[in-house]
Assembly symmetry: C2
Homo-oligomer: 300 residues x 2
DNA sequence: GCGATTGATACCCTGGGGATATGAATGACC
DNA sequence: GGTCATTCATATCCCCAGGGTATCAATCGC
């Protein structure tokens, strides 16, 4: 009945991911025997076998899969505890806002301005990138609030939708398809997508290796788009803010709209976070009411 | 940058709860000096002071409060991982349903019957009590799904409302207030509530010590109600199923309705859980449509 | 059947977590 | 204000658990 410890979970996750004791040990920077022993002890302790192992292959049992999932979230919770405590103890508390560059729909400047006047406000700090996984940055305690595109993995998080907009496809202006005014997903079947994490709202689009090195920022992606190497899905606001001569944006009729949402850890109690969320929702609401006539005049 | 370990968090939580190193050490079954040293090391490791301590008093700093909250959820996640893995490895997998006795609104038998016929169903097992905190039982991995009254602490959990019903107050038939047909909360100001965890849907009602020993089950509570020692709030279905000569149920006009909800861990992926939720929602829906005419005929 | 690969076992050794003894600071009380 | 009790911190020792090296054993490819 002794409880699990972080070391055991870390080791278990490593083995579960590598499915190979030697490689897992290498990744952990240790020798293989103590790793094997730790896993064995873990299994004894839980009274459960986690891996079916022969000398030639290692694979997870059902219980192992359950533990893998839970172990990951538990480890996230632990690292989040450390990060948040560290941050809370720092002499200059700040509100850390995680965004993926350029997906904020142009809302962020207004939000920041308005937030600055709020009595509960803290100085803000933008957390860029964060491995492209803002929800994880929140779960790991590296940020206090995030702007992300739905759908996303919202386990442990609360969120509020801000604005919804259509998704356009960006393609080379010279692409034959660019001659058409409207496309369907099927038309794009042959085109490759960025091999990095694309700013497409996390939508699960079939992806195939088109470029060797993952492109991580919009400029890289756009240069690939211009050369016709790839196509790329972007929310309308991103398209509007990135007009480029060689790039054509076209609506895709059967692609659902994407939604920009503000997200924060479910158990956040900080008034600074609450104030930021409130401000963001207000700004988005005014934007929405303004946007409708604008949209019409733009499309007209 | 070494990561936190469970031992450190356990110790920290103990000290944070006791606000006294000696007592915390006793609770942990260890001597005080190593505890002090562990906390000191933890603070060094995080680069944050967690307690303001003099020889006469210990109190949490801001960072300490942040860590306390996060540490609790992290520890819950760890114990949940252990429990779920143990359960998943057991030879007879079961769906563990956490309920507080008698608050299921009479739905449970039907749900269990219908669930039994579902192809994805597992044998079921009722987890009673669970310290009266079903959400915690879910978070700790002691149950797979729960029936609880809203509002409740839903951090990390998903839920679906089943039925909503009014809350009645149960009082001694001899109570002068029982002569009235309808009451307001203010009328009950002088009455005491059960000192145990009351089945009032977790509503934060002011409570004062009326009885020495906490009453944990309905029969105990009802005998106290009959003697006029306490009053007690119960959903209408509980009242309907517990008619007792010495007890009068009266509506309370300014008490909001309570909602029975089905709850499960947010990251549950088990088809058995999904099937149970689906079945429960269906049963509740049919009950709702049946109930409305019934309710009218009952009140008429 | 032989060698290569890979997980398990045997054994040693060091560091860290725990205990005891003691110091130091604060508040209570006369 | 001096004394005592309380309580957290420091000093020191000890032991075991976690890690390393060497080796075995089993499986697969040829």
């Amino acid at each position: 009945m002794n409880d699990l410890e972080v070391r055991q979970l870390r080791y278990f996750v490593a083995v579960a991911e590598e499915l190979h004791f030697g490689r897992a040990a290498a990744r952990l920077g240790m020798a293989q025997p103590p790793l094997s022993r730790t896993i064995r002890d873990l299994e004894r302790q839980l009274g459960v076998t986690l891996f079916e192992r022969t000398t030639r292959q290692v694979k997870l049992t059902g219980a192992g899969e359950v533990l893998l999932r839970d172990a990951r979230t538990a480890l996230e919770a632990i690292t989040a505890a450390a990060h948040r405590a560290r941050h809370a103890g720092s002499t200059s508390p700040r509100l850390r806002i995680a965004i993926k560059a350029d997906i904020d729909g142009g809302l962020l400047p207004q939000i920041l301005d308005a937030y600055g006047t709020d009595p509960a406000a803290l100085p803000t700090e933008l957390v860029l990138g964060g491995l492209g996984d803002q929800p994880k940055a929140l779960r790991d305690g590296l940020a206090d609030v995030a702007l992300v595109l739905r759908p996303m993995d919202d386990r442990g998080l609360d969120s509020e939708s801000l604005i919804t907009e259509p998704v356009l496809v960006a393609m080379a202006a010279t692409d034959p398809l660019a001659a058409r005014t409207e496309l369907r997903l099927a038309d794009l079947a042959g085109r490759s997508l960025p091999s990095g994490a694309p700013a497409d709202g996390g939508r699960a689009v079939p992806r195939r290796p088109g470029v060797t090195r993952p492109a991580s920022n919009l400029s890289e992606i756009f240069s690939l788009v211009e050369t016709g190497s790839i196509v790329f899905f972007a929310p309308a606001s991103v398209a509007r803010r990135n007009p480029r001569p060689g790039v054509a944006y076209r609506p895709v009729s059967d692609l659902p709209n994407c939604t920009l949402a503000i997200v924060w850890p479910q158990d956040a109690r900080s008034p600074a976070v609450a104030a930021f969320v409130r401000v963001a929702c207000t700004i988005a609401a005014t934007r929405r009411t303004q946007a409708e006539p604008q949209m019409q005049s733009t499309t007209a």
